[in-house]
């Protein structure tokens, strides 16, 4: 099947995406779009970005054959795309390096970011420190409590962390506050959005910067295996690591793709963060996509053991990929993710973040249904150091 090159000129992925923002934000969004379109094919910009990705981020990340896991699960050969080995420990840095470079080219002196678990905040603070930019990170007051090690990391890196007390005091409210800051300080400020959501051009921009992950998998699979993978699995909160892996494969129908949402306590309980699995189309944070909202259109509180997946919306390209049936979206519960976390840690000696633990939990179900010669690639989007406190607390272990 031939897939359109999306988004279209108005930032739409089919029915989804677009630019649902107040008029005050339109000019900065247009300026960002123009700047990005001018720079993305600029040889000097590409060279600078590639150099940063290689020497600062540490790319390419390995495509690791998880042999013990493969034997244990039975079925497909399981490979892990080791985004956890990147500088700052997650795929988030691929995007912040790119956006910070854009900020620099636009002459902005201040960057702002929203963060949930703190990974995107840390990645933003990191690149701001390196480029000598002022950095302000908005973080829900609840998340500031839950993720105190990352708050401290951001402060060490010189960022100002602003707790957001409005609404549910989580990621979505941090994003509202960052948008408010941007609209007020647009002359000197660049808003580094951490996921493939937000108004156009962000879903496109963040996808493009993260799709280095998928491009590497294409090359690595060819070199290591002489073929392309049969299936890709990635967790989906906003969906940046998933789209980064999927995007270069969208046109290759032989490759099946699975996006794994946070099922929380179980979809049937209503306590989850799975808009594609159990939500409906709506408008949030400047784009039309699947969201979780009540019958009156008020955005719902979400629940997930993983702060990075605890978001009531999802990137609009995922909404489109769901509707056209190109990607299958599923969910796993907190308990399943936690079991997968322990399994990878013990079987392969890799401590995954709770976000990709969701992808692993689904891969565990998928692998036995596949043939032994088939290849299954899981995006191991981040490492789990940040989560050990959450896990210890949940399992009743006292640390220190």
């Amino acid at each position: 099947m031939i897939y359109e090159n999306l988004p279209d000129a108005r930032g739409h992925f089919g029915l989804y995406g677009g630019r649902f923002v107040a008029e005050t934000l339109m000019l900065p969004l247009q300026q960002l779009e123009q700047a990005y379109n001018a720079l993305k094919n600029d040889a000097a910009f590409r060279a600078e970005l590639d150099r940063d990705l290689a020497l600062y981020v540490g790319r390419p990340s390995p495509l690791y054959p998880a042999e013990r896991l493969t034997r244990k699960w039975g079925g497909a050969q399981v490979f892990l795309k080791r985004e956890d080995l990147n500088h700052t420990g997650a795929h988030k840095i691929n995007n912040t390096v790119g956006q910070a470079l854009l900020a620099k080219h636009l002459g902005k002196t201040r960057i702002i970011a929203e963060t949930g678990a703190g990974q995107h905040g840390v990645a933003s603070a990191t690149i701001a420190a390196r480029l000598g930019l002022k950095c302000v990170v908005y973080m829900g007051a609840e998340d500031v409590q839950r993720q105190s090690p990352n708050v401290y990391r951001m402060k060490l890196l010189g960022a100002e962390v602003v707790p957001v007390h409005s609404g549910t005091k989580t990621l979505k409210d941090a994003m509202n506050e960052a948008l408010r800051d941007w609209v007020t300080n647009v002359d000197d400020t660049f808003y580094v959005i951490g996921t493939v959501a937000g108004p156009h051009p962000y879903p496109m921009l963040v996808r493009d910067f993260n799709s280095v992950v998928g491009r590497e998998v294409v090359t690595q699979s060819q070199e290591m295996l002489g073929c392309q993978p049969d299936a890709l699995v990635a967790c989906v909160g906003g969906g940046s690591n998933a789209i980064g892996l999927f995007y270069p494969f969208i046109g290759n129908d032989a490759v099946k793709m699975y996006g794994v949402e946070a099922g929380g306590d179980g979809i049937e309980t209503g306590r989850h963060a799975a808009p594609l699995s159990a939500g409906h189309p709506g408008v949030l944070h400047g784009n039309r996509t699947y969201i979780m909202a009540d019958a009156n259109g008020q955005i719902s509180a979400t629940h997930s053991i993983s702060a990075g997946l605890d978001y009531p919306g999802v990137g609009p390209e995922h909404a489109w990929l769901k509707d056209i049936g190109r990607v299958t979206y599923v969910s796993v519960t907190d308990d399943e993710a936690l079991a997968a976390f322990h399994e990878l840690t013990r079987v392969e000696g890799i401590i995954p973040a709770l976000e990709p633990a969701h992808a692993l939990a689904y891969a565990k179900k998928l692998a036995p249904q596949m043939q032994r010669e088939q290849i299954l690639v899981v995006n191991l989007s981040g490492r789990g150091d940040k989560d050990i406190f959450t896990i210890a607390k949940r399992e009743g272990t006292e640390l220190m």
């Binding site: 005050t24 900065p28 609404g167 409210d173 408010r180 408008v283 944070h285 909202a293």
Partner: protein
């Protein structure tokens, strides 16, 4: 003639400017909203902008965010807000009411169903903050089909091309956001507002109301000299917040607060003063 058009025409004939107060429906409690609307009319309101509370009001500052939260604690829904307008209409057939809010609560109920219900209740216009002119073609005509005016925002950063496109989609009036930022933000630069209004008027005959940064009688008077209408929101909402636990006092307080602005506007734009 539609109510909003009638009001601006009548004001123009008398050389007066529109005073447009904003309050959030359901704040501090849904039971008080209709009474507060009448109090605003008593204070000199020409048009009322009634906010539809939303859980994620990304274009609003802290004052209106908190108003939304107070309203949502009591479960104030879009349908309830429209019902409030219907109740208001029973004793006020003249003052236009514009619903101001975000798209998701409207889409959750269905755009068509909302437009029909709002028309029946006597709503005159709708300002959906997060519907840009690019996204408007799928939305605005369906509201207009039910006799609702579509009010749009203009910003200091709106280009001439955008002003033209927005004026083309809009009816009733245009709402010029007088500064960069969110609702309730600080300062007002009257000279730059005046320059932008000239640019807007070169492209449209629609009345232009100015909001954001108008907090008292003095700033209302300054804006009234150059605009067709003055929108005051956060200053009133802050008053509601301050007296949320003694809501029986609010009607008089709002009438008085708005009345001071009304007097200052009328004085500033009286024939003697503008001679």
């Amino acid at each position: 003639m539609k109510r909003i058009e009638t009001v601006f025409a009548a004001l123009k004939a008398r050389g007066r400017k529109a005073l447009i107060p904003y309050i959030t429906a359901g704040d501090p409690h849904p039971d008080h909203t209709v009474g507060l609307m009448h109090a605003l009319v008593a204070g000199g309101a020409d048009i009322i902008e009634l906010g539809v509370p939303f859980s994620d009001p990304m274009a609003d500052g802290p004052t209106i965010q908190l108003a939304c939260e107070r309203a949502l604690v009591h479960g104030t829904s879009l349908w309830q807000v429209v019902d409030m307008v219907a109740e208001f209409r029973r004793s006020d057939a003249r003052t236009p009411v514009v619903l101001m809010g975000y798209l998701n609560p409207i889409e959750a109920r269905g755009l068509e169903a909302f437009a029909a219900y709002a028309q029946k209740a006597g709503v005159d216009g709708v300002l959906i903050v997060d519907v840009s002119v690019e996204e408007a073609p799928e939305i605005a005509p369906r509201l207009r089909a039910h006799g609702l005016d579509c009010i749009f925002l203009l910003a200091p950063t709106s280009s001439a091309a955008r002003i033209g496109a927005i004026a083309h989609e809009a009816s009733g009036y245009l709402y010029y956001v007088s500064l960069k930022g969110v609702t309730g933000a600080a300062t007002l630069d009257v000279a730059s507002v005046a320059a932008k209004l000239d640019q807007i008027r070169a492209q449209t005959a629609l009345p232009v109301a100015v909001g954001f940064g108008i907090r008292d009688a003095a700033s209302a008077a300054q804006v009234a000299r150059i605009a067709d209408g003055v929108v005051v929101g956060s200053a009133l909402v802050a008053q509601i917040q301050k007296h949320q636990n003694e809501p029986q006092k609010l009607p008089d307080l709002l009438t008085r607060q708005l009345g001071e602005m009304r007097a200052a506007i009328d004085f500033a734009t009286s024939p003697v003063m503008t001679r």
